[in-house]
């Protein structure tokens, strides 16, 4: 399982990279590996407002479909259009080209509820 030290992680297996007032969000390497080959990603529209733990989309693999949960509240300012044609990017580069959305964070204090790489690894191993 690949992890990146500069990211924060949610218990629903999303990662978040804070860049100023914005955050890039995707799913973890563990999540993409558990799902298997991803065939479809449904993302919200730019401008949509998300509350923390709201579902913001769906990721579908040959095995199953899973909801995506917002790790923080905020407004969607960018979505990864490339995933519509190339959902396999999520399998190939979950922390890179497989990113999903960018939000303008509305409440930075919510970041404190997320895990760092070490805590996330522990959670996965104990599950």
């Amino acid at each position: 399982m690949k992890l990146q030290a500069d990211l924060k992680y949610s218990k629903e297996h999303e990662w978040i990279r804070v860049e100023g007032s914005r955050a890039v969000i995707g799913i973890t390497d563990f999540a993409q590996d558990s799902l298997g080959d991803i065939v479809f990603v449904e993302l919200p529209s730019v401008g949509e407002s998300l509350e923390v733990e709201d579902t913001f989309g769906v990721v579908e693999s040959v095995k199953t479909a899973s909801d995506l949960y917002a790790p923080v509240s905020g407004k969607v300012v960018e979505v990864n259009e490339a995933l519509a044609d190339s959902p396999e990017l999520v399998n190939r580069e979950p922390y890179g080209q497989g990113w999903m959305i960018v939000v303008e964070i509305s409440d930075v204090s919510q970041l404190e509820n997320l895990m760092d790489a070490e805590q996330y690894q522990k959670m996965v191993e104990e599950a």
Binding site: D37, V39, P87
Partner: protein, 484 residues
């Protein structure tokens, strides 16, 4: 491919039939239809002889696998044997050649059959009224949830917008709730595989419209705190919805109505032995308690004196959910099954369904991981041994290898809360010999996977096609055929 498309067979100009000479004056199409409606080129119809056509379809039929061919332990689907007597009944002239526009007085027998099926299903589930219209389980769910919605609206309870579903639920439950305009709230399972009562208390409140529950659950476990769950939901003013997918386990022993459920849907094509798979037709009747009866789809069959009628005068009804009277021939088959078995027979169905599942679970218990160590109901969930998972042999590989032994694989990767899940439902119609042979072969596959993982990872070897490229099929589906 093993078999070409029929369009790719034959030869230009070849015909299977010869028509008699035309004895009326020929009129060209462009004299009959505006140009916009005329094809620019001839439709590419198959050009094959009668023998080519017969061989093509017979070959295709022999590639098929069904419950009449072999053991089909597809968990959650109740692939039991469908007695052929039910086909005979449905093929009777008076049923098969009815027209839905025939006047009521000419179809009293058909209406009586529908009425008695409604009554029988109500008795079996502890409900007060039934509609037979929905065409399948998910359609029944939607009908049931729309009925709940109409009932709540009639009471002015318009702010109830939440539907609770357990994390072990069939995916159709949250999908139905969402489609009917509700917000879906998931509640987790406890360590015994039941609804976590404490977690339920956290989400229950005045905004809850309903809790959707399958009992026994998709883990094949009986929800033994159902009374407490029902009380919680009802105390909050919500309703209880019963997903009847697993009714096969409890017939004659426990009734959803007595457990506190307000609405149920049944799958006639599962529990009541009508053929299914391959897209239907099925039937998903919905039953409700008295208070919700006025909201059921119309018409429903009612009886006045000795006369049966289709009652359209139901002002609070949610309306029709299917043309005419649903999949009538499926109802005829289910009625035949109900009447052939009777109350005692149906009870035995559930006894054997549960016994067979527990027998198979015990036979496999030391070879697989069983996440919930309890007496199971009509099905059980297992995972391959840890060492196989670590070796990279997946449940999918084991399922594929079972094909080589002549079995339809069990359900895999469901429920989602069990890692590498395999879900086995043998049903009541299988003999001990079949179960023993399956268990022996299943254990053999596990041994093969241990000793020669590659053998299992490359399986199947004996099927018409080997591993299909599911990823490309999902990412870039080819859904039609065009001539080159």
């Amino acid at each position: 491919m093993t078999e070409k498309l029929i369009f790719e067979l034959g030869s230009p100009g070849r015909q299977g039939v010869t028509f008699a000479d035309n004895d009326v004056p020929e009129v060209s199409l462009d004299q009959l239809l505006p140009e916009a409606y005329l094809r620019e080129r001839q439709a590419p119809l198959p050009e094959v002889s009668e023998l080519d056509a017969v061989r093509h379809f017979v070959r295709l039929s022999r590639l098929n696998f069904g419950v009449d061919v072999g053991f089909y332990p597809l968990g959650s689907c109740t692939m039991k044997y469908n007695p052929k007597v039910a086909e005979d009944a449905a093929a009777l002239d008076g049923f098969a050649n009815l027209h839905p526009y025939q006047p009521e007085e000419l179809v009293q027998g058909a209406l009586q059959l529908m009425y008695e099926t409604q009554q029988d299903l109500a008795e079996l589930t502890g409900m007060d009224a039934f509609t037979l219209q929905p065409a399948a389980g998910a359609h029944g769910e939607m009908t049931g949830m729309l009925t709940i919605k109409a009932y709540l609206e009639s009471k002015g309870e318009t702010s109830r917008n939440k539907v609770i579903v357990p994390d072990s639920a069939h995916g159709t439950n949250p999908a139905t709730a969402a489609l009917c305009g509700f917000k879906v709230v998931e509640v987790k399972s406890d360590e015994r595989g039941n609804v976590d009562i404490e977690a339920l208390k956290q989400v229950i409140g005045p905004d809850v419209a309903a809790l959707m529950l399958t009992n026994p659950s998709t883990l094949g476990l009986f929800e033994d705190k159902i009374k407490a769950i029902a009380d919680l939901v009802h105390a909050a003013g919500g309703l209880l919805y019963y997903d009847g997918a697993n009714l096969n386990a409890v017939m004659g022993y426990a009734r959803p109505g007595d457990m506190g459920f307000d609405v149920v849907h049944l799958n006639l094509h599962k529990t009541f032995a009508t053929p299914h798979g391959g897209g239907g037709p099925g039937a998903g009747p919905v039953g409700v308690k008295e208070a919700l009866a006025p909201f059921l789809p119309k018409p429903v069959v009612t009886k006045e004196g000795e006369h049966y009628q289709l009652d359209e005068n139901r002002p609070q009804s949610i309306g029709r959910v299917k043309a005419f009277n649903g999949n009538f021939s499926v109802v005829v088959k289910a009625y035949t099954y109900l009447r052939a078995l009777g109350g005692r027979g149906l009870k035995e169905v559930s006894e054997y369904a549960v016994l067979n599942a527990n027998y198979l679970m015990k036979r496999l218990a030391t070879h697989v991981r069983i996440p919930y160590q309890r007496v199971c109901m009509h099905e059980f969930v297992a995972s391959p041994p840890q060492e196989l998972t670590e070796q990279g042999v997946k449940t999918l590989d084991i399922a594929k290898r079972l094909l080589d032994y002549g079995y339809h694989p069990p359900t895999v990767y469901f429920p989602l809360i069990v890692e590498e899940a395999i879900m086995l439902e043998p049903t009541e119609t299988e003999s001990k010999e079949t179960l023993d042979q399956f268990a022996d072969n299943f254990i053999k596959v596990l041994e093969e996977a241990k000793e020669n993982p590659e053998l299992v990872k490359q399986a199947p070897y004996t099927t018409p096609v080997r591993r299909l490229d599911e990823v490309t099929a999902a990412r870039k589906p080819v859904l039609g055929w065009l001539p080159e």
